[in-house]
Structures are given as structure tokens and as C-alpha cells.
């Protein structure tokens, strides 16, 4: 009995001694995200990353993604105060990432030089959209526009032509048939309202926003609900929808269409490792994977565009990649063409609360009056 114990103790000791060797494993066996990016993009990339890790290091990584809207995720990270329960924040506005970095809540990226250099500094004119952080706390992962969605069958029944630009949503025949999410709840909606305000100036811009309010039949609780209700045919058109969310509904077999007006805001879906993350190596490797051709290809299958000019959305005829190209109007890469951007993020971030408050007062609180007025 006693001998067995000694052997056991010796074995335990050996295991302990082997400890440092284990700790030098290339990555940890777990990886957790907090993300506003929908499951349909996070699940396939995480699953393929786990496969990649198994192939490359023979390590089984347990992954999970905590779904949370951009503001919620941001708030949650602030609440964690540097003791995060997840490793990575993925998606949302780059300005929020800058704010987190200022609060020392992000860890600096340690990506190989060629990987990070493949991501251009910015895209778009006259206002460049930053695609990575000059200070190195975050990088963009994919490109995707916030556009509008519609259901062709419902529009045909209403006798309304298919919309091409934001202004087409103000068509009086669409009254009560539009779904949108308030900018207080949705970052895509907030950004798109800023596009309108910066395009038209404050007075005209707010008049436009009130007018859209009068045409709105449903304010959804989250931006993801907007394409859902349009896909189902519950509403005819939806405002400020990320392309890949609408594409998921298309993949699910719904007859939904997407269009990105010329002024549509394009997000680079930034990603960062949280300071104090429990699995920093796995986190960094995931980002590296996401920027690799393999990761980019998996993402492209879901209706987003590559973050680097190195790749273009391309697949066999009938593949989901080709479906995505058709769905987003034939484009294969944002680097193939001139990108117009009139949205100035600094301006938007400075008056973030102000715009929300004004929307609440002048649209949400008086929605019944707006419906009568327009």
C-alpha cells in the first residue's frame, strides 16, 4: 500500500516536472469570444480554427462564442475591469476598440509582420475607413457593408419598385411596411443614421430620419431581427442591415434581397485580444488564422468580403461563395473599385449619446404623431 503511494507520488512529481513543457504548448486548449457577429459567421470560423489547431499542433481547442450586441459586449468588457471571462472581442465599431485600448482593456497584437502588413491601413474616399489600429491593439478581419434589404414579392404586391438608395424607403406606398432597429440598440443602425446626417446635414438629415420613422411598421429589438422579419415577408423592406446577416436568410431559403447604396458604411469588423485573457496564445493564433487565406475563405462563404487585396470572393459555380457574390450585386472585393465613404467616425463617436437621445425624443417618443404626419 505504502509503496503504491510512493509510486503515485513519484508519478505525480514527474508530471509536475513535465509541467513547464506543457505550458510551452503553442496554444491553450480553450478559446472564448464575445461578439456581436452573428453565429452564422462565428460558428464556422471557430469550428474550422479548431480543425486547423488539431491538424497543426494536434491540440483540441474548445471554443465558444458569447453572443452580445456591440454596446452590450463593450459594456460587459468594461464591467469585467481587466478580468475578462472571454479572450477575444470581435466585431463592432473600431472607435469602441480605441476606447477600450485607452482604458488598458486590450492586449497588443503580436502577429507576424507579413500577416498584419497584408491588411491595408484604410479604404475609402473622401473619408478613409481605418482597417487596423496604428497602435496595434486591433485589426480588421473582413469587410461588409450596411445596406438595405427587401422582399421582392411583398414589394410587387404593393406596387413599389425595388429600392436602390436610402431615399427609396421614404416612398409613401411603403408606409407601415418598413422594419428598422433604433440606433440606441443597433450599431449598424447608428452608423447608417450618421451616414444620412453627414450626407444631408443636421436639419435635413433629422427630417429624413423622422420621415423614415413615420414609414416604419416595426422597431425591432435587435438589428438581426430586421432581415428576419423581411425574409419572412412580415415587412417589405428593412433599413441598415449588415450584408452577411441578410445573406444567411438567403442561404436559409428565403427570397430576400440586399442592396448597398453608394454611401453605405463599410465595417472592417475589428478584432482584439482582451487584456488579462486566460488563453492569450489561442486568441492570437485565432486572429492569425482569420487573416490567413484559409480563414478568409471560410468567412467569404458567409457573405462578407476579404480584408486584404490578396484574395477575392471566388468559388465553384453554385457554391455559397458565388451565391454571395450574386447576392451582393456581383462584387468580389472592395479593393477592385473606388470606395466612397462620407462617414466620419470621430464626429459620430463624439455625438453618440446625443444622436441616441435625440432619436428617442424626436422619433421613438412621438412615433404615433410621425405616422400621422407623413
Amino acid at each position: 500500500m505504502y509503496r503504491k503511494f510512493t509510486i503515485l507520488a513519484a508519478a505525480l512529481f514527474l508530471l509536475q516536472a513535465a509541467g513547464p513543457g506543457v505550458a510551452q504548448a503553442p496554444i491553450e486548449e480553450e478559446l472564448n469570444l464575445i461578439t456581436p457577429v452573428a453565429k452564422t459567421l462565428t460558428d464556422p470560423t471557430l469550428a474550422d480554427f479548431a480543425k486547423y489547431a488539431k491538424e497543426k499542433w494536434n491540440i483540441t481547442v474548445k471554443t465558444s462564442a458569447l453572443a452580445a450586441g456591440t454596446p452590450v459586449a463593450y459594456g460587459q468588457i468594461v464591467e469585467w475591469k481587466g478580468r475578462p471571462q472571454v479572450d477575444i472581442f470581435w466585431g463592432g465599431e473600431s472607435a469602441l476598440f480605441d476606447k477600450l485600448a485607452e482604458q488598458n482593456l486590450l492586449a497588443k497584437l503580436t502577429l507576424p509582420k507579413d500577416v498584419i502588413d497584408a491588411v491595408p491601413v484604410s479604404i475609402g474616399k473622401p473619408m478613409p475607413i481605418p482597417l487596423k489600429d496604428p497602435k496595434g491593439f486591433w485589426t480588421g478581419t473582413v469587410l461588409e457593408p450596411y445596406g438595405l434589404v427587401y422582399h421582392p414579392k411583398v414589394l410587387a404586391r404593393l406596387g413599389v419598385p425595388e429600392p436602390k438608395d436610402w431615399d427609396d424607403l421614404l416612398n409613401p406606398k411603403l408606409k407601415g411596411h418598413i422594419a428598422q432597429c433604433a440606433p440606441t440598440r443597433s450599431s449598424s443602425s447608428h452608423a447608417t443614421y450618421e451616414v444620412i446626417l453627414q450626407r444631408d446635414g443636421d436639419d435635413k438629415g433629422w427630417e429624413w430620419i423622422r420621415h423614415l420613422g413615420g414609414n416604419t411598421g416595426l422597431f425591432t429589438a435587435r438589428s438581426r431581427d430586421v432581415p428576419s422579419v423581411v425574409a419572412k415577408g412580415e415587412f417589405a423592406a428593412g433599413f441598415a442591415v449588415p450584408s452577411y446577416m441578410a445573406f444567411e436568410d438567403r442561404l436559409a431559403g428565403f427570397d430576400i434581397k440586399f442592396v448597398a447604396p453608394k454611401t453605405a458604411w463599410i465595417t472592417p469588423e475589428p478584432i482584439a485580444v482582451l487584456a488579462g485573457a486566460r488563453h492569450p496564445k489561442a486568441a492570437m493564433m485565432f486572429i492569425e488564422y482569420l487573416l490567413s487565406e484559409r480563414g478568409q475563405r471560410v468567412a467569404m462563404e458567409r457573405g462578407v468580403f476579404p480584408i486584404t487585396p490578396k484574395y477575392r470572393v471566388q468559388g465553384a459555380p453554385g457554391s455559397t461563395a458565388e451565391m454571395a457574390v450574386e447576392f451582393t450585386g456581383g462584387m468580389r472585393s472592395y479593393f477592385d473599385r473606388e470606395v466612397t465613404n462620407i462617414y466620419e467616425d470621430d464626429k459620430a463617436q463624439k455625438r453618440y449619446a446625443e444622436v441616441n437621445e435625440k432619436f428617442r425624443k424626436e422619433v421613438e417618443s412621438v412615433i404615433e404623431d410621425l405616422k400621422k404626419k407623413y
Binding site: 453565429k39 465558444s64 454596446p71 478580468r83 429589438a221 431581427d225 421613438e364
Partner: protein, 559 residues
């Protein structure tokens, strides 16, 4: 009469443990949200938050609309609930037993699933509108769902069984001799109902009404799906899930605190009323059922059949959505598939596993804590038992939203030694479930305990049985049915719980309702529907067991 003496006996120690549990997991988190609600960012005491609430026209409108919705829902559920209860207790007609089971079923509509099911059938592109447009050339769809009318419909269908069950319990306890006596002195029909039956069933009714009111008041998912955001619960939820604007965030907490305050006020008011009017005898009486005439009996069946038809709209809608692919703008899905069921069960079994695991744990804890609590209330004069009694009623009334938020605020500090906050450990989910659902176990155990005459226990004690032995050999066999029903009820309602757990769930801990919620917000309504169907089937089986064991007498749970 036995008395529990407060010396340091094991019993007293156990009693202390129960109190510790209640203080740590009920009172402490609640004080935390009150602290948040009455302080400013700097931590100083202030009433400014409430002042802001009561001077903001949007919040005020939310407040009044919530009140009106609650009152109207109590009215609609009363009309239906009372009619059903009377039919089932007092009259005999074909399929009576079947209906007594079926009328309980709408209650197990999981959050979100109910409203989604309704939208699939009655939405603007739902089956009914599509048929109206395709067959009758209707140009614009009829708006059955989006707005207050839709919320009222969903809440009424979901909650009338609570009313039925509360009244059933009260009615079954009314001694028929009282009514016969009234008849004997010439009081008939309405007069007899007004003077005898009504007052006797009032306590049951009041507790049912209170529950319906608070449930409606606290439900945020239904209004959100239907685009109604100017109600208190959706405002609390929406304000809290956005953390960026700290002021709006604090207003969310203020609204949750307000929900708790209102719940407390309603409970106190209801208890005052019930305490004064509790004349009902404790025993269930044998009720002679009246045979209905040939026309009336089929009228009864017709009424209940029609009611069930409306009640099962959501189930039908959810079932169709769970097997239909790309279902839009046709009366029924055109492509059928089982892929969604496979996706939510075989490919990701965690939802079902977590649900059974956490709810099973919660069930065990409910029994360990709840049965002794009932015993203390029913059989001892231990100090503090009245407070405990009041506390169980209060727990029932606390909106889940508020409790979830209270937990997030209160337990987010690293615990000593292990250095992880409670909010970072999965055990917090079973814990919050226990707190939420404990009252059902306590109430059901207590009400069956009250039906057991103490003389039996005393007889056992006289022949030398120890207290524990008496409890085990005499009391338990007599009350196990009540405990079983209460515990199973705690289990069913835990399975369906979403309002508190949504705020506390982290990756890997997802239970079925959270899965429904995440699939829904990820736009995968079919997967959400498939999980919903699984949950409904699970709960229906449990409810069937309840029905077999207890018949229709599962009231008394909600006092």
C-alpha cells in the same frame, strides 16, 4: 402542540442554514439593485433617478401602459379562467378529463416560442393573412399581432390556466354544504354565487390574479418581438443590455427596482385582502358534478374546443416552423426537413443537457430547502416563520428580469480563496432557478401538510417515535403527492425560465430557453422553433405526470 425550540439542535441549525440561503440569495441581491437605483455614479444617495423616471414622458407612458396591460390581462384571463374552472369542477360533459389536462397546456408555452408561434400563423405574412390575401384579394395584411392587441392575446392565452388552477383549488375546497344551506334558505343562482361561492373562492382568485398581473408586467420578450417597446419590462431590458450610455444603463436598473417595489406593493395589498377573507375550509370536499343536458353539454365542449383551437395556434405555428425550410408567404411550408432538430439536439446537445442538469439540480435544491421550509411554516412556531412565509410569496412576485439583473450586480466580485466571481461559475444558474421556483415546492408541500391532521403525528409521537421517524413514517407518505406536484412544477417552470437566466448565461452554460433566444436573435427562427418543440414536449410530459398524480388540484401553489 409541538414546538421547535431554538436551542442548538440540528433542526435549529438547518433552519439557520435556510435563512442564510434566503438572505444571501434573495435579500442581498435585491438590496444591491436598490442601492444602485438610489445612488448616482459617484455613489452618493439620490432620488434623481426616480425623479427622472417620473418626469420623462416616455417612461411615464411605459408605466401607464404596463399598468393597463396588466389590468386588462387580469380581466381577460379571469373571464376565461373562471369559466373553464367552473365547467371542470362543477359539471360533467364529454371529454371532461381530457379538457382538464388540455387547458393546463397553454401554460407551458416557453418564452419567445409562444409569441413566435402566433406570428407564424397570425403575423402579417402568417398563414391566416396569406390565405386572406390569396383567396380574398386582401391588399394589406390585417395586423393581428404587432402592437398591444398582440401582447394581450399572447399573455391571455399563456396565463389563463394560472387563473383556472387557482380557482379550481379554491372551488374544490368550498364545502358544498354551505351552498346547499344557502339553497335551503332560498338563495339561488346568482345570489348564491355572489353571497357564498364568490367570497369563498376570492382568496384563490386574488392570488391567481396577482400572479397574472405580475407575469404580464415582467414579460419583456413578448412585447419586444411584437415591436412594443414602451412598457416597463422591455425598457428595463433594453436599457440594461446597452452598457455604453451609463445613464440609460442606470435607468434600466431604476426600472427593475421599480418593478420590484410595485411587486411588493401588490403582494402586500393582495395578502391584506386574502387574510381578511380566508374562510375556506382546508379540506378538499367531494363535489357532486352536475350532468349537463344534451345541448348544454355540447355547448360546453364547443366552447372548450374553440378555446383550445386558439390556444394551440402557437404550438402549431412553432411545429410548422421547426420542420419548414424557407417558409415565407405561403400558408404552410413548402419544403420540409428535420435538419433543424438535428442541429439543436444531435449536433449541439448542450442545450438539452444543460437544461436537464441545471433544472435537475435546482429541483433537488428546491426539495432540500423547500420541504423543510413548508414544515417550519406548517408545524412549528419558529421565530421568523411568518417572515419566511411572506418572503416566499414575494419571491413569486419578483420579476425574473429584476432578479437576473440583481444577481449580475450583486455577485460580480471575486470570491475569497478561489478568486472567481460567482457570476463566473455555472452554479449561479441552478441557484437563481432555485430562488425563482422555490415557492412552488414550498406552497405545494405546505398546502398538503395542512391537510394532514396533526393528531396522526401526535399519535406516533405518543408511542415513542422520534420527530424524524414520525416525519418519515407518517407525514411523508401522506404528503408526498403534494411535494411531488410542487417539485415537478418547480422543475417545469425552471425548464422554461429565461427572464433571469438570460442575464447570467455565459458560453457553454446555455439552457434550452437561452438557446431559443440566441437562435432567434441570430435570425435562425427554425432552430429556435425546433428547440421550442423539444421544450414543449418535455414540459407536457411532466405536466401529464402532475395531472395523473394530482388530478386538477394543483392550485394552492401560488398563494
Amino acid at each position: 402542540m409541538n414546538r421547535l425550540r431554538l436551542s442548538l439542535t440540528p433542526a435549529a441549525f438547518g433552519y439557520g442554514l435556510i435563512w442564510t440561503f434566503l438572505i444571501v440569495f434573495v435579500l442581498f441581491p435585491l438590496t444591491r439593485i436598490f442601492y444602485d437605483a438610489f445612488t448616482n455614479e459617484a455613489g452618493g444617495f439620490t432620488l434623481a433617478n426616480f425623479l427622472e423616471f417620473f418626469t420623462d414622458s416616455f417612461y411615464l407612458r411605459s408605466f401607464w401602459k404596463s399598468m393597463v396591460l396588466g389590468v386588462v390581462t387580469v380581466f381577460t384571463t379571469s373571464v376565461i379562467g373562471i369559466a373553464v374552472a367552473f365547467l371542470i369542477v362543477r359539471y360533467d360533459f364529454p371529454y371532461r378529463n381530457l379538457f382538464s389536462y388540455l387547458t393546463m397546456l397553454p401554460m407551458i408555452l416557453p418564452p419567445l416560442v409562444g409569441v413566435l408561434g402566433f406570428v407564424f400563423i397570425l403575423g402579417r405574412a402568417g398563414t391566416l393573412n396569406v390565405l386572406l390575401m390569396d383567396w380574398f384579394g386582401l391588399e394589406h395584411p390585417v395586423n393581428f399581432m404587432y402592437g398591444m392587441q398582440g401582447v394581450l392575446l399572447v399573455e391571455t392565452v399563456h396565463l389563463f390556466p394560472l387563473m383556472t388552477m387557482s380557482i379550481l383549488d379554491a372551488l374544490a375546497k368550498v364545502d358544498p354544504s354551505l351552498e346547499e344551506a344557502a339553497q335551503g334558505v332560498g338563495a339561488k343562482g346568482f345570489r348564491r354565487f355572489r353571497d357564498i361561492t364568490l367570497p369563498l373562492t376570492t382568496p384563490g382568485y386574488v392570488s391567481g390574479a396577482l400572479l397574472v398581473f405580475i407575469w404580464t408586467f415582467a414579460d419583456f420578450l413578448t412585447p419586444l418581438v411584437l415591436g412594443v417597446q414602451d412598457l416597463l419590462a422591455p425598457q428595463a431590458y433594453l436599457n440594461i443590455v446597452q452598457f455604453v450610455d451609463r445613464r440609460i444603463f442606470r435607468m434600466g436598473i431604476v426600472i427593475s427596482a421599480l418593478l420590484v417595489i410595485l411587486a411588493i406593493v401588490f403582494v402586500i395589498a393582495a395578502r391584506q385582502y386574502v387574510a381578511i377573507k380566508d374562510y375556506s375550509s382546508l379540506a378538499y370536499s367531494k363535489v357532486e358534478r352536475i350532468q349537463l343536458g344534451p345541448v348544454k353539454r355540447w355547448l360546453a365542449v364547443g366552447f372548450l374546443g374553440l378555446l383550445m383551437l386558439i390556444c394551440f395556434i402557437p404550438q402549431v405555428g412553432v411545429l410548422l416552423a421547426s420542420v419548414g425550410r424557407g417558409w415565407a408567404l405561403t400558408p404552410f411550408p413548402e419544403h420540409y426537413t428535420l435538419e433543424f432538430f438535428r442541429a439543436v439536439s444531435i449536433e449541439t446537445p448542450k442545450f438539452i443537457i444543460n437544461s436537464l442538469l441545471f433544472c435537475g439540480l435546482a429541483l433537488l435544491m428546491c426539495l432540500v430547502i423547500g420541504v423543510p421550509m413548508a414544515w417550519v411554516m406548517g408545524r412549528t412556531r419558529a421565530p421568523g416563520r411568518d417572515t419566511m412565509d411572506a418572503l416566499t410569496t414575494l419571491i413569486l412576485a419578483i420579476p425574473g428580469t429584476a432578479l437576473g439583473i440583481a444577481y449580475v450586480r450583486a455577485f460580480n466580485f471575486p470570491l475569497p480563496f478561489i478568486d472567481i466571481p460567482l457570476t463566473g461559475m455555472w452554479i449561479i444558474l441552478p441557484l437563481v432557478l432555485v430562488v425563482r421556483r422555490l415557492p412552488y415546492t414550498v406552497r405545494a408541500s405546505l398546502s398538503s401538510l395542512q391537510l394532514v391532521h396533526q393528531s396522526m403525528e401526535e399519535a406516533a409521537a405518543n408511542v415513542g417515535a422520534t420527530r424524524l421517524r414520525t416525519f418519515w413514517d407518517i407525514t411523508v407518505p401522506l404528503i408526498w403527492k403534494g411535494i411531488f406536484v410542487g417539485a415537478l412544477f418547480s422543475f417545469i417552470t425552471s425548464l422554461q425560465e429565461a427572464s433571469a437566466t438570460i442575464f447570467l448565461t455565459l458560453g457553454g452554460w446555455e439552457m434550452i430557453p437561452f438557446g431559443i433566444f440566441t437562435f432567434y436573435i441570430a435570425g435562425s427562427q427554425s432552430q429556435a422553433a425546433a428547440l421550442g418543440v423539444i421544450l414543449i414536449v418535455l414540459c407536457a410530459l411532466c405536466l401529464y405526470a402532475v395531472n395523473r398524480v394530482a388530478g386538477t388540484r394543483v392550485g394552492g401553489l401560488f398563494g
